[in-house]
Symmetry: C2
Subunit: 327 residues, 2 copies
Amino acid sequence: MKKFMNAPGDVLAESLSGFAAAHSDIISLDPANRFIRRRNLVPGKVGLVSGGGAGHEPLHLGFVGRGMLDAACLGRIFTSPTPEQIVAAAQTVDAGRGLLFIVKNYDGDRMNFQMAREISGLGIDTVIAADEAIQPLPGGATRRRGLAGTMVMERMLGAAAERKFDRTGLLSLAERVNAATRSMGVALSSCTVPEVGKPTFTISEHEMELGVGIHGEAGRSRTAMMSANAIAKEVVSTIAGEIPIKGNALVVVNGFGATPLIELYLMYNAFAAVLSKHQFNPVRRLVGNFVTSLDMAGCSLTVTALDDELLGLWDDPVHTPALRWNA
Amino acid sequence: MKKFMNAPGDVLAESLSGFAAAHSDIISLDPANRFIRRRNLVPGKVGLVSGGGAGHEPLHLGFVGRGMLDAACLGRIFTSPTPEQIVAAAQTVDAGRGLLFIVKNYDGDRMNFQMAREISGLGIDTVIAADEAIQPLPGGATRRRGLAGTMVMERMLGAAAERKFDRTGLLSLAERVNAATRSMGVALSSCTVPEVGKPTFTISEHEMELGVGIHGEAGRSRTAMMSANAIAKEVVSTIAGEIPIKGNALVVVNGFGATPLIELYLMYNAFAAVLSKHQFNPVRRLVGNFVTSLDMAGCSLTVTALDDELLGLWDDPVHTPALRWNA
């Protein structure tokens, strides 16, 4: 394991400290409770709180600011934040109109945000971000994890909250965003958790993992390395079958941390060609690192079908460390 | 070599095609002459043209747009663009006030931009971006290559050109930016050029390359892997000694392509602590992948001392695929 660090146990605290210093115009850090909060709260706005394990930067901390989150709680790497952290963050950003938790669909996160909601005594609703294309599990079960569509959820709800949507309106919007959004990831290499010191999984020079999770969990299949066009065909056909409405779409090509832009743009090219055959028109596009898995090489595709309201929300001003436009 | 690609020889063309499609609101691609141009030229503005080998994305193509470049010419990976490409780009973005070439300090780039200037018949001045801390060479010679400070140069001149500086004013500004800017890079792994198929250099699990170039060229020394704090001390003390004015500064922590944000922010934290001891105050900060070396793991630090004029230029509106604020 070769990483920029001092001691493995200090990676998260030092990285958070650097993040807070680099973006002190927008956010501030509560180091004791390990959450990032928006510097200037908006009175009369529902407070949006998200979070999860660290290691996915810029998710969630990079999405705190105008038009997205009010606070993001960070657990240890790939570990849910504690209910106490979440309560502390929620109390801090409550601006009198109640709170909304945006939680990725993982058992640990769901449980801890649920406990936080119960013990906080605050008015809180919860949205589960579950954008992954249906993942078949042994025994006939299925699941949808939260992948890069979580960013889309945080953005759409953040814009709506800024427009002063109430909690009922936000919950209804969240259902539409979940229904309109699907993602799928592909890994070429494992990530390495600093405190573990060795790769989470092993994979040969000739293999890839299709449908990988953002913690390096196994996906739907381990296959021989495929061409960019073959990957695009497989990923898009899986995603497209689960999005009922075609036409205008937001397309996000997301790097997992160790894949350079030259490859992500090549994948955008490959994805766009197949999306067009499936009648998607990518009217909004993002290519970069948004929801990562430490130093994993790989990428994911997220597609959100955009009606006029979603397109308008997406284009509203946003000013966060990781996304900024019209502001 | 495991990369997202179809054939190694098609990586660049397909990646450029994806880039042009993803950012078609701002730029367009001339595929025959392989340059990216700004979609809307500004009459009466000096045209800014840069370029160089591909493989450093988002440099240069991601910096085309309002407040930065009018065109960027891309050579093959790590290879200078041809004079013919450069002339074609220059002719396309000439808006009647003459042109400025911004050229990184590499022999191939300097030669080809010089030839383009001679054969074009256009009114062109040239700025050499050479921000690297002095690199000692065998035999007592020295050099300064163009590293991530090239982005700073493109931004400052781009903002000034938008304010309608003439060529003389831009040349004088470029001298000040070069004098105020220093960079130094560190590599933990090699990059792999797709058409070569194997790493450019070998480096063990316990070593790093200090002062590496952005094509994987050897740096000033190969050392045992150092802690983040030790790297920061070494890099900042080298850079700081070459910047005469301390105080307000722009600080860029730049990833080389395969290093995730969690590590880049940790390095920001380490760099900031040492910069403070050297009397630098980082009033503007960027952390991310800006000038990369394909899939090399590593990072560089760039510091630009900011007087009021440079700070104002930096804050002017910019709207490009890779940098956007106040626009």
